[in-house]
Symmetry: C2
Subunit: 129 residues, 2 copies
DNA sequence: CGCTAACGGAAGCATCTGCTAACGTTCGCG
DNA sequence: CGCGAACGTTAGCAGATGCTTCCGTTAGCG
């Protein structure tokens, strides 16, 4: 039972590689992004969310499950209803991932552009600063 | 068929919904993320990139095509070789997307949490912030 | 208890996606 | 021109994914 998944299949540790993977895969679906946009500004029940789309409620429910499993959604029970709202914490992993990637690639791009200017007179020393 | 796709199959307008979709789908693949990390710090030829993985060069080539089509990669020809490097511009769309989503969901979360505090307490004040 | 409402879950299907294998193309060299 | 190197492209296959239909569960109500 001592698996590396204490909270039992729901939202891995934020900042982890697995968390980023889950969140990215969840956001890769347009419908899922639309759902997330809907509950980003207000808490809504599953049925209410499903009405906004042409697909069946079951499909939306599955999307909600994926989003919740990725840590991007917060679920709250209210009688037979289940209220959902976006979870800002689930996005911090992606934020840091993009930030890191952006910094690295931007640095490389700058270096390459500067190298182009002095192609015939380029010093290839690894002066990583 | 004059569709809304002037630049024909290579890196749509940054900031567009389609661009975000392409970039997100491209980043949803772990291998693709690894490739992007590799070329984030230095420019590398396709064959050199392929050597870093267990899969065939063809698979990596296809991944490179997807990344390039998503605007996340920059290709440069050098004889028979093709040098690739990460494109920071391709990430700005995701950055704004995440930022927008973050702001909205954070605002909602804050509102919900504050509402929880005054559940038993009838707080009917119009302090809508 | 019986009924309805609001959901999630499982099975089945159509489609997408990533991988491999074989082939074609472009470039450099002698 | 002939040859090899470096890549991209196409066809085909196995696994993942999203959607639908049917069914089970839980909560409120008379």
């Amino acid at each position: 039972m001592g698996d590396t998944d204490p909270p039992s299949g729901t939202a891995p540790d934020p900042g982890s590689e697995h968390a980023t993977d889950e969140a990215l895969k969840a956001l890769a679906e347009p419908r899922r992004r639309a759902i997330l946009r809907l509950v980003a500004h207000e808490e809504l029940p599953a049925g209410r969310i499903a009405e906004e789309f042409e697909v069946s409620r079951t499909a939306v429910s599955q999307h909600l499950g994926v989003l919740k499993s990725a840590g991007l959604l917060h679920e709250r029970r209210d009688g037979t209803r289940r209220l959902y709202r976006a979870r800002p914490e689930g996005l911090v992993g992606l934020q840091s991932f993009l930030d890191q990637m952006w910094a690295g690639s931007l640095d490389t791009a700058r270096r390459l552009v500067e190298a182009e200017r002095g192609i015939s007179d380029d010093d290839q020393s690894a002066s990583a600063g």
